[in-house]
């Protein structure tokens, strides 16, 4: 009959108390939480202490969300350039010459070697360029990164295969994440989150960042630094590169690279002691120092070209050989530019250009206002529903209200343990749950009322009400769950926060609206032995 055994009571209360305790850390701010954790004596095992807390979404705490995409075309361009250099090196090594040089084709290069003997010497070396992909140990069938095709008349085409391209993009994303992490860390922002998204994207989330301009400036640059020489009159192997602050004017720069960003071991912003202008001091590693020393010794009086992402940012004249391995980049820079440049040089180059495909920034003011508005809406909704339930069902309404408050507490408890993110739509989800959670109670109560009206005794009416309403409660919650689960898998960021709250709400409602309410009603019945329903 309407019995609730002692062990069942203890179990129910224990689950609820633990669930509510889990929410405790989320009610405190960072300092309070630390103080709370410190206040707990050392003999308490750490797994007993609730330490996890809800994470506030960027829309509530303010901050920047930037979605970057690896520019596949740019990556391919870089790849083809590398391939071209490799092929040129192999041609030189094997002393084979290609008719009409090395042609660039779609995703690769083409050479023409009509002599069969030459081709036989060349091809094995070219095949070394093509690395197998896939994991042989896992038995994955991979192809090669580069396809090599030969026609009878001696045209050899090397192209990046589909697999090779995808593999490169995957690696480029991994490398980019590392470089981005170093760059973002260098700006001194707290707790940035940098993660891969999809095949070719990186999501950067920086809480508290109000103006992502500097971040975007840092991520928008590839950061590829080269030390070259300005070409002299009549030189042939040159690139025409734009000169910074020269109104788009282009200058000839030798193709040969003396040293590059990878040779640097340090770069720091500083001020020139004489002109007091912002500069960047840098230091080379041994290889870079040697090559730089040799080049500056041989080319005294000529102009160096310091090239960043295919733009000449400075072209100082070599006054004396620089053999100590350190130097400086000066130019017409602002302090901020110098800071960014130093960060770019220290963090290394990105494997390819990154494009910003989505940006969402919320100022801290709006975040605070949203939290306040969300709290207000939650309280008002709770008061509305609590008054309404009490006015309709009296004492039973009070039971439902207690269950409702526990229900909201448990959602927070579960979210804390999962370290789930609370977003503004998530708050909307909580408010909505307040309205829908009492549905289960309403179903039960209305059924009880009906059963008693149909002539059952109060105790059997309550029993029947719970039993008969239960199937409908399961139904009504599964219908909501269908929508919530789909939303969870398809939504991103804030919308997903809504789905999380909704799913957790569905789980806890069974415990609170069914088990907890039933327990309260059973206890009430045994103490009061009522003859009529209180509603």
């Amino acid at each position: 009959m309407l019995r609730f055994s002692r062990s069942k009571i203890i179990a129910t209360v224990a689950v609820i108390v633990i669930g509510l305790l889990l929410a405790v850390p989320s009610t405190m701010n960072r300092e309070q939480r630390q103080a709370f954790l410190n206040a707990i004596p050392g003999w308490v095992p750490s797994w007993l202490v609730p330490s996890r807390a809800i994470v506030l979404g960027l829309d509530l705490q303010g901050g920047s969300h930037v979605l970057l995409e690896v520019d596949a075309q740019d990556l391919m361009r870089v790849q083809v350039t590398t391939l071209r250099d490799d092929v040129r090196r192999i041609l030189r090594d094997t002393r084979v010459s290609s008719q009409n040089g090395i042609q660039t084709v779609q995703r690769g290069v083409q050479i023409r070697v009509p002599d069969a003997a030459d081709r036989d010497r060349l091809l094995p070396r070219l095949r070394e360029l093509a690395q197998p992909t896939g994991n042989a140990m896992l038995g994955q069938a991979g192809g090669n990164t580069i396809d090599i095709n030969t026609t009878p008349d001696g045209v050899i085409t090397l192209t990046y295969s589909e697999i090779g391209t995808n593999e490169r993009i995957r690696r480029a994303v991994d490398q980019s994440i590392e470089v981005i992490r170093r760059r973002v860390d260098a700006t001194g922002t707290t707790e940035p989150s940098i993660q891969r998204q999809g095949a070719d994207r990186v999501l950067v989330q920086v809480p508290g960042l109000q103006d992502p301009q500097q971040l975007k400036a840092l991520l928008g640059e590839t950061g590829n630094l080269e030390f070259r020489l300005l070409a002299q009159q009549g030189a042939t192997d040159v690139d025409m590169l734009p000169m910074q602050d020269a109104g788009g004017q282009r200058v000839p720069v030798e193709r040969r690279i003396i040293a590059e960003g990878g040779d640097l071991i340090d770069a720091q912003p500083a001020f020139d002691t004489q002109t007091n202008q912002p500069i960047v001091n840098f230091r080379f590693n041994i290889r870079g120092a040697q090559r730089f020393g040799q080049a500056t010794t041989e080319n005294l009086g000529r102009q160096l070209a310091i090239v960043l992402d295919n733009q000449v940012i400075s072209a100082p004249t070599i006054q004396s050989p620089i053999t100590g391995g350190s130097g400086q980049i000066s130019g017409s820079f602002t302090v901020e530019q110098v800071n960014n440049l130093a960060v770019l040089l220290r963090s290394g180059a990105l494997p390819a250009k990154l494009t910003i495909v989505e940006e969402r920034t919320v100022g801290p003011g709006l975040g605070r206002d949203s939290i306040e508005a969300g709290k207000m809406a939650t309280y008002v909704a709770a008061i509305f529903v609590i008054i309404f339930m009490f006015a309709t069902y009296g004492l039973f309404g009070l039971f439902a209200n207690i269950a409702l408050i526990v229900h909201v507490g448990l959602i927070f408890g579960l979210m804390s343990v999962l370290e789930a993110t609370l977003t503004l739509p998530g708050i909307a989800g909580i408010v909505l749950t307040i309205g829908t959670a009492v549905d289960s109670n309403v179903l039960i109560y209305e059924r009880i009322r009906e059963e008693v009206r149909a002539g059952r005794s109060i105790v059997s009416g309550i029993q029947a009400g719970f039993d008969r309403a239960f199937a409908t409660i399961v139904d009504s919650n599964s219908t909501m769950a269908i929508a919530a689960v789909i939303l969870f898998f398809l939504g991103s960021g804030p919308v997903r926060g809504f789905a999380v709250v909704f799913i957790l709400g569905i789980l806890t409602t069974v415990l609170t609206a069914v088990t907890l309410t039933r327990m309260m009603i059973a206890l009430w019945y045994h103490w009061m032995r009522p003859k009529v329903l209180p509603f």
């Binding site: 495909v357 508005a373 809406a377 509305f384 339930m389 307040i434 549905d439 929508a483």
Partner: protein
């Protein structure tokens, strides 16, 4: 203490009569929705259309909308929508998506920040490039389609064919009328709207399930009762619950509309409307639909005598 009763006990209201009004009414709204929708009437937000949205607030508390509009139009980034909202000098600016792919969008933000930074605080900046907006359209559409498929599967397992058909009609009706809300009011349609539609799908289904559970129960009890009478009885039996749940849900949504702040208001308004629509459709669309689909052909009445008795 006298307790509140929103719905009288033992009511014998003839709900089925309503179908003479509700069917034409819903049909007209659905057709209207389809017509406006096909003529491009959905006001897509930047999630789906791409572009840049900014919300700025005057540091002085008093925004000069005219000047902002004039300045922003002078940027040369196309048609700018400038709108004041709230009370504390908050203004929203919407720039259309820029030609020139993903990278071109950043220039808008840069320009606006440089121009308005002195007098205004930037409260929100959102830029969605063409590729991401295309993907969001895709995942939003998939979401709604998937939810309908999931609902179909659920109903297939849960109900007899006739009841399942009637409730899927109800759910589709609610989706169409919710989209109707967007096209008729010109309410912005974004990713949160998709969340609202999916939640409404859940709520709609919930409402029909509660009524149809009762219909099925009564079908087993009163084997010879005409469909119309039976459906009326089911609705009357569940009506006090329907009214209560609609009221508590609507109350909490009302709290969101009134106090939830501008960012969440749109969602709450749609949901509030959705609760009304779902309640209406469960009573005035799905249930009377069964009169035409034919209630008695369903499996439930073919339950052997013994089991039917046990179910009582």
């Amino acid at each position: 203490m006298r307790l509140v009763r929103l719905w009288p006990e033992n009511s014998h209201f003839d709900f089925m009569r309503f179908r003479r009004f509700s069917f034409p009414l819903s049909a007209v709204i659905s057709i209207l929705t389809a017509v406006i929708l096909l003529s491009g009437g959905l006001n897509f937000g930047i999630d789906f259309r791409g572009g840049t949205l900014m919300e700025i607030q005057a540091k002085s508390g008093q925004a000069n909308v005219g000047q902002i509009r004039q300045t922003a139009e002078g940027f040369g980034f196309g048609d700018v929508e400038v709108q004041e909202f709230g009370t504390a000098g908050e203004v929203s600016l919407r720039f259309p998506i820029q030609e020139g792919g993903e990278a071109a969008q950043a220039a808008v933000v840069q320009k606006a920040r440089d121009t308005f930074n002195g007098d205004y605080e930037f409260r929100r900046v959102e830029t969605v490039g063409p590729r991401v907006s295309g993907e969001l359209v895709q995942s939003g559409t998939i979401g709604v389609v998937l939810s309908v498929i999931a609902v179909l599967f659920y109903l297939w397992f849960r109900f007899e064919r006739e009841l399942a058909i009637a409730s899927i009609i109800g759910t589709l009706h609610d989706i169409v009328l919710t989209i109707g809300f967007f096209v008729i009011t010109g309410h912005e349609f974004n990713m949160t709207s998709i969340a609202a539609i999916l939640t409404i799908v859940g709520y709609s289904l919930n409402e029909t399930v509660v009524v149809f559970d009762r219909t099925r129960e009564l079908m087993r009890r009163y084997k010879t009762m005409p469909a119309e009478e039976l459906l009326n009885l089911s609705i009357n039996h569940t009506m006090s619950r329907t009214v209560m749940t609609a009221a508590t849900t609507a109350l909490s949504l009302l709290a969101l509309v009134l106090f939830g702040g501008q960012a969440i208001q749109g969602f709450a308004q749609v949901m509030l409307y959705g609760v009304v629509i779902c309640t209406y459709s469960a009573i005035c669309i799905s249930s009377p639909m069964l009169i035409y689909i034919g209630l008695r052909g369903s499996e439930a009445v073919k339950v052997p005598e013994g089991r039917a008795a046990a179910a009582e």
